[in-house]
């Protein structure tokens, strides 16, 4: 299983560093951004699996806007919001914009790692489903070419058999001439 790449977006340098260190220790690839603009620049440039963003940040790009930007750039990016406001309303609004989950401050790292594991599992399943689909298409295509060839050949041979039967049953001609006519048909194949 490939390591997830996580983009941490938080204006607080202490939390940023803490998240970066803990996630690195947890064997994740980590990128950091101090605000929404820097986050957007990174999202446009690099492959990111999960965005972990603070909900409330100074300036006009907050966590919900980061969610929208991430989803617009690549709809398969998962977003987890970190919020001090444990209100369900904010969380629901974020989920509507495409966030997959939210965590309340102070961050419980066990909980965070569990959620990241879940995302990694789903992504692995999704990737193998896509690979299976592709393998199925390739196999189906190859099989269908072979089957078509056999199908057409079988029909051609059946046609020839029917013709030979007609020739052999045609009593207007002598047996010898019927047989020789039939043999000619076969050698003409």
């Amino acid at each position: 299983m490939k390591n997830l790449t996580i983009l941490v977006v938080d204006d607080d340098p202490v939390i940023r560093r803490l998240l970066q260190q803990r996630l690195k220790k947890g064997n994740y690839d980590v990128l950091v951004a101090a605000d929404g603009y820097k986050a957007e620049a990174i999202l446009r440039e690099k492959h990111v699996d999960v965005v972990l963003t603070d909900l409330m940040m100074p300036g006009d790009i907050g966590g919900i806007e980061v969610t929208e930007i991430a989803k617009r750039i690549n709809s398969s990016i998962e977003v987890i919001l970190i919020t001090a406001h444990s209100s369900v309303d904010t969380a629901v609004e974020a989920m509507k914009k495409g966030a997959s989950d939210y965590l309340e401050k102070p961050i419980n790292f066990d909980e965070l790692f569990l959620r990241l594991d879940k995302i990694a599992n789903v992504q692995t399943i999704y990737r193998s489903a896509q690979e299976l689909q592709h393998a199925m298409d390739v196999t189906e295509h190859a099989a269908s070419e072979t089957i078509q060839l056999i199908e057409m050949k079988a029909a051609e041979l059946q046609g020839l058999l029917d013709e030979i039967e007609t020739i052999l049953r045609d009593e207007h001609y002598s047996e010898e001439s019927r047989i020789s006519h039939a043999l000619n048909k076969i050698s003409g194949m």
Partner: protein, 279 residues
């Protein structure tokens, strides 16, 4: 997940065959468990024997329908492999239109098309889209597009014509998605102009279907593969009865009628095969 034991496997496989004609290999217990365990658990069954007893005793046959929904494979996509739809557009439809167009301009051209295992509707809607794009003056035509499937769920989803992002992204080009579907929350819904062209209803292909009348074009793709050879023979024989003498049959790209139905002969157009009746 509720486990199935070997003795249950035998009679459950027979029961599924009896109600649907679908032949499931009794050596593959996971096939039964992954598809039936949630129904069994929901009904509070302690075993598959229990589920079977409940299904047999259910006078409304609700459980039987649930089992059919769970067992029938609804793997399908819009324009699933391009070949059959190119065939329809470039060969079959032009030929049928040519043959069916009446001498008098006041009369309409009647064409009947059947998608015999329509699943959740993607195939029939794809056919409708091809027709819509090929025929500019649809008012001069009387086109019947019928989709049938054994699963109630599949028929109702097909009739509703709503598909989630994952279902829609597979196979359907962006241009046609934007033109023929409307965004509906997180999903896409087929537009009324296409929806109005088609009809869906429930049908078990194991039972007689001559009452549907004769069709000019029949799509019967990737369903007979779930039947035994004797049932496949019966099915294609009935299909031959239901197809006009100059009609067209399209089957799945990896299916074959050799040794199944001598009444059909294969014909090749570009990279695809279609079948016509031997006359």
């Amino acid at each position: 997940m509720l486990k199935i034991n070997p003795s249950e496997l035998k009679f459950i496989a027979q029961y599924i065959y009896d109600i649907s004609g679908i032949f499931l290999d009794a050596s593959k217990s996971y096939l039964f468990e992954t598809r039936l365990s949630s129904i069994a658990e929901e009904l509070g069954c302690t075993s598959y024997q229990d589920l079977y007893n409940k299904a047999k005793r259910d006078p409304k046959k609700t459980i039987e329908r649930q089992i059919i929904d769970a067992i029938s494979t609804n793997e399908t996509l819009f324009f699933r492999d391009k070949g059959p739809f190119e065939l329809l557009q470039h060969k079959i439809l032009p030929e049928i239109i040519d043959k069916r167009t009446p001498g008098s301009p006041v009369l309409k051209t009647s064409i009947k098309i059947w998608s015999a295992a329509s699943s959740t509707g993607q195939e029939l809607y794809s056919i409708a889209i091809v027709i819509k794009e090929l025929i500019p003056d649809l008012a001069r035509y009387n086109i019947t597009l019928l989709g049938t499937d054994i699963s109630d769920n599949a028929v109702s989803q097909a009739s509703y014509g709503k598909y989630n992002k994952f279902e829609i992204e597979r196979g359907l080009p962006q241009k046609q998605l934007q033109r023929y579907f409307t965004l509906f929350g997180d999903s896409w819904k087929i537009k009324d102009e296409i929806r109005a062209m088609v009809n869906f209803k429930k049908l078990n292909l194991m039972l007689p279907f001559s009452a549907l009348g004769k069709f000019d074009i029949i799509f019967c793709r990737n369903v007979a593969i779930y039947f035994t050879l004797p049932d496949r023979k019966k099915l294609f024989n009935k299909i031959a009865d239901s197809l006009a003498d100059d009609g067209f049959l399209v089957i799945g790209s990896t299916e074959s009628l050799t040794g199944v139905c001598p009444r059909f002969i294969p014909k090749k157009h570009l990279k695809s095969i279609f079948y016509q009746k031997k006359l």
